[in-house]
Each structure stands twice: as C-alpha cells, then as structure tokens.
C-alpha cells in the first residue's frame, strides 16, 4: 500500500496499540470464563470489573449501571425495544429525530409495526433538534425520548442538556445514542439527566464488536438478549473479556487526552473547512459550524456524486465517506442530509472527512488539494454542471 490518509474515523478507528496490548493476555493466557467459580475465571472477572469501573467513571455513572454489549447497534436496539416492552403499560408513544442512526430509526420503525407510535422530530438547517417541536410532541402516553448526542454524518451536537431537562420534568425516559460523542465531548449522565446511553468501542480506538449500554438505576428495562445470567442477568452471552478489556483501555486513553486531542482536531477541522470553502466553488458545509464534533467535516460539492468522489480520493490514498458507512449498499442519499433540507442531487454529492488523533496539517493540505482536483475533474464530466454553466455562464 502506498500513502494512506485515513479520514473516516467516524466509520471506525484504528485499535490503539496499547489497547491491543491490554487485550492480548485475555485470549490465550487468562482465557477463563468470567462467570465461573475458580480463581482462573476470577482473573477475567476482575479485568471486566476494571473496565466497567473506567467506563462508569468516564460518564459519571455507577459501575452497576454499565452493561456490556456487542456494539452501538445492539445497545440502541436494546434500549429502545426493551423500554417499549417495559413501559407499554404507560403508553405507546416514542419521540426520536429524523437524523438518528439507522440503529435507532429502523428499530423505531420496527416498533411501529407492533402498534407503537413514533414522532420523528425535524431538525433545523444545521441538524439541531428543535426543542419547541419536542415539547409539542410530548403526549401523556410518551414513554421514551431517544435523541442522539452527536450526529455521525454531519457532526452536529444536540442540545442534550435541554432535552434531558425536558424529559425529566415530564417523567419520560431519555435515551441518547452517544456512539459518536463519547470520547469526543465530556459527558456526565447525571448532569444531563440521561437515563440510557449507547456507546461502541471501535469508534474511539477500541476494538470492534463491543459496546455498552448505560442504564440508570431504577430504569426497569429487561433483557434484549435472553439466556445466561451475565451482566447482572440483563445481557446474556459469555463475556467478551478481551473486547471489554480493550474497550476499557481505549476509554482510559481517550479520557486522558481528550482536551489536547480534540483541541488539535478542532483546529485542523476548521482549517480544512476554511480552505475548502475558499478554494472550491459551489461547496457548502453541512452541520453546525461550531457546535459540532471536533473531528467532523461534512461538505457538499454541487454537480458531483459522492461515490465517484470517494473512489477517486481512494486512488490518491485518501479514505473518506459519503454519508454514513453503514448506509452503503443503499441507493438513497443520506436521510440526514435530506433532513437538514438539502435537495436530493446536492445530498448525493456529500463528503464526510473525520479526523483522528494522528491526522496532521500536511494530511489536510494534501487532502484539500486532492479534493479540489477531483471535484474539478468530476464536474467536467457532469451533465448537471454543463447545464448549469450553459444557463449561468462560466463565471462564478
């Protein structure tokens, strides 16, 4: 492989070498089942406990409020389906937003098939959930509000504190998908009145295939995966000890350097956005300008289609994404970009670049230069650009 500039950290991240190192002993040395009587299994149990402690501390929770899962999608499914099951006696109404990850949206749609009613809140042009709409949407039978902490495509950070306050005042459960936010912005579940929170290891330099769901003490949701008595009888399945240990280590690292890391990313992010806006015509930034994830850039290039752009970037060694990686295989443009009001043809031309700890200014310069060149090239072969130019003349 030649040069590679990895700018798809919102899709997944490199597992930090320290994380792999922390995991290694739990594969072939201390491989015991954490739910056993003998001391050898106790080593696994201790390791899991330690990871749980690190994670609980990172979000201001208690250890017995952290439940390990297989990732963000499972956590989202669990939180929403089990809340629906547990609180259906109270009501059948759920509130979420139009820009949630599919793990939330498809789960809600699934619930609609069995009689639940879901309000999908609009967002403003920056992708911010409208609080007034939220308040209006609340009904006596609303049992759950699920709004993401930060959006995975356009990086916008939602007004979680206000939402938590509203949910608490109304006595409604509040779940937040913090898969993108955790490790990027400080989170305290008590201060923010969060009842449930989803997270995924591989988004913050931890391993893939492990996540957690925070469930506030007193929230009476039950299991999603039924079976053995693991995770205080709430999540069955032999504990993924190496995965959990790695996740714990990743969180430890992320918490330790959050301030310096994100400060650097924020600077590079803003530099990238500025250069693009200045140097590439017919481009626009998606998402909130300042209230956004430190590492997220999302841009639309008019007259250009995203996948072509990605492949050409790939030819130059740059990994980026167009919409969420999870939606590839779909033909529709990103539901998030549509929700912030972009027309389909513009939404098709989006590019998401998400920075990592190791990204430097040189990477950004190289990337902007490449994007500039490619966009020009693609526009040259775009019938849309041709039409536009014929109508409006070559000058800009």
């Amino acid at each position: 492989m030649g040069k590679m500039i990895y700018l798809d950290n919102a899709a997944t991240t490199k597992t930090a070498p320290e994380v792999v190192e922390a995991m290694l002993p739990y594969f072939s040395e201390f491989y015991g089942n954490a739910s056993t009587v003998y001391e050898f299994g106790g080593k696994s149990k201790e390791a899991v406990s330690k990871a749980r402690e690190i994670i609980a501390n990172a979000i201001g929770a208690k250890e017995n409020e952290i439940y390990f899962t297989a990732g963000g999608s499972e956590s989202d499914n669990w939180a929403i389906k089990a809340a629906a099951e547990a609180y259906r006696g109270k009501g059948k109404h759920i509130i979420t937003s139009k820009i949630e990850h599919h793990a939330v949206l498809h789960t809600c749609q699934w619930l609609e098939q069995s009689g639940f009613e879901v309000t999908y809140l609009d967002v403003d042009e920056f992708g911010v959930v409208k609080l007034e709409e939220l308040k209006k949407a609340i009904r006596p039978d609303t049992i759950l509000i699920s709004i993401m902490f930060a959006n995975n495509e356009i990086g916008t950070i939602e007004p979680v504190e206000e939402i938590g306050k509203i949910a608490k005042e109304q006595g409604i459960l509040f779940h937040t998908d913090a898969v993108q936010a955790f490790g990027q912005v400080p989170i305290n579940v008590d201060e923010l009145n969060i009842d449930m929170l989803s997270s995924s290891g591989h988004k913050l330099n931890g391993p893939k295939g492990v996540g957690f769901l925070y469930i506030r003490k007193g929230v009476k949701i039950r299991s999603f995966i039924h079976g053995g008595a693991q995770e205080r009888k709430r999540r069955a399945g032999t504990e993924n000890v190496p995965g959990i240990v790695g996740f714990g280590k990743a969180v430890e690292l992320a918490m330790a350097n959050m301030e310096t890391r994100t400060a650097k990313e924020r600077e590079l992010r803003d530099y990238l956005m500025e250069r693009v806006l200045k140097e590439i015509p017919f481009s626009r930034i998606n998402g909130h300008r300042t209230n956004r994830l430190p590492n997220n850039v999302n841009i639309c290039f008019q007259f250009v289609e995203g996948e072509s752009l990605l492949i050409m970037l790939d030819m130059k060694g740059i990994c980026g994404s167009s919409g969420s990686a999870c939606t590839s295989g779909s033909l529709d443009p990103s539901h998030v970009l549509l929700a912030i009001g972009l027309p389909h043809e513009i939404a098709h031309g989006s590019l998401r670049l998400t920075l990592g700890e190791d990204t430097d200014r040189e990477d950004i310069d190289y990337t902007v230069d490449a994007v500039k060149e490619i966009v020009t090239q693609l526009r040259e072969m775009s019938p849309l650009y041709e039409d536009y130019m014929k109508k409006n003349g070559r000058q800009e």
Partner: protein
C-alpha cells in the same frame, strides 16, 4: 466491490466529453436518484456511429457503464447499437454488484434516448426503437433470502 474492468473504465473513462452539434443527444436518469447520463452521438450518412461522447453524474458504476457503452457502440451501425443491451455492458465489464445493475440499464436507455433524438431530428423511424423512458425507476431490490 467493483471488478477490475469497472475500475479501469472509471479511472480512465473513454469518450468523456461533448459533441457540438451532435446528431443525437440523450439524457436519462435524474439527479434525485444520483445518476444522470448524457450521450452524444455523431452518426454519418450511412447510419454509422462515427463518434460518441458522454457526460455522467453518478457513482463509479454509472461512469464505467457509460464509458463501456460508448465503446460498445462506437463505429457500429444504428441497428448494431440497438443490440447493446445492459447485459452486454455488464458482461463487458465483468459484472456489477447487484445494487448497481440499474446503472447498466441507464446506459442502455441513454443510447436509446440519443438514437431517438437522432430519429426525431431526422424525421425517421428506427426499427425496434421505442420511445425511451427518461428514467429508470428504482425498484426496491428484492431481498433474496
């Protein structure tokens, strides 16, 4: 994801561009779905496609199928060009991922549209050519469980 052939035609698309005063121009697809193809034909008096160019807004497969389709019709008679089906384009590209099959349909339609335009401009009828839809409706792919 894509075959080497597809990648080759994407990276080095053949016949990109416009033909001024083309004999026929066809545009199909729509930006809403993320794919627009425009094909320009230069047809001589003997009904031979002397030159062909395309412009495409779309994914890698859309660009590659456009490129391949232009290759397949270049130098051919109108009747031969009509035989260039989406299957032929796909085969020439060593296949496409299932979600991208519609791109090859679009390429077929784009050629037909350009031929239709040529026929209309010249007040002739081309045997076997129906008025092309200017869009390929995107059917929800079958879940082939």
């Amino acid at each position: 994801m894509y075959s080497e052939k597809v990648m080759d035609h994407f990276k080095n698309p053949r016949n990109v561009g416009e033909i001024e005063n083309a004999s026929g121009v066809g545009t199909v697809g729509n930006a809403k779905c993320g794919d627009i193809m425009r094909i320009f034909l230069d047809i001589d008096d003997n009904g031979i496609i002397r030159d062909v160019k395309f412009k495409t807004f779309g994914c890698g497969a859309a660009v590659a199928t456009s490129s391949m389709a232009t290759e397949l019709v270049k130098g051919k008679t109108i009747q031969e060009a009509l035989q260039v089906t989406n299957k032929a384009v796909m085969e020439a590209l060593d296949g496409l991922p299932p979600v991208k099959v519609h791109c090859s349909l679009l390429a077929e339609e784009a050629i037909h549209a350009a031929l239709w335009d040529y026929a209309e401009k010249n007040g002739i009828q081309i045997e076997g050519l129906e008025k092309p839809k200017n869009d390929i409706s995107e059917e929800e792919e079958e879940e082939d469980y």
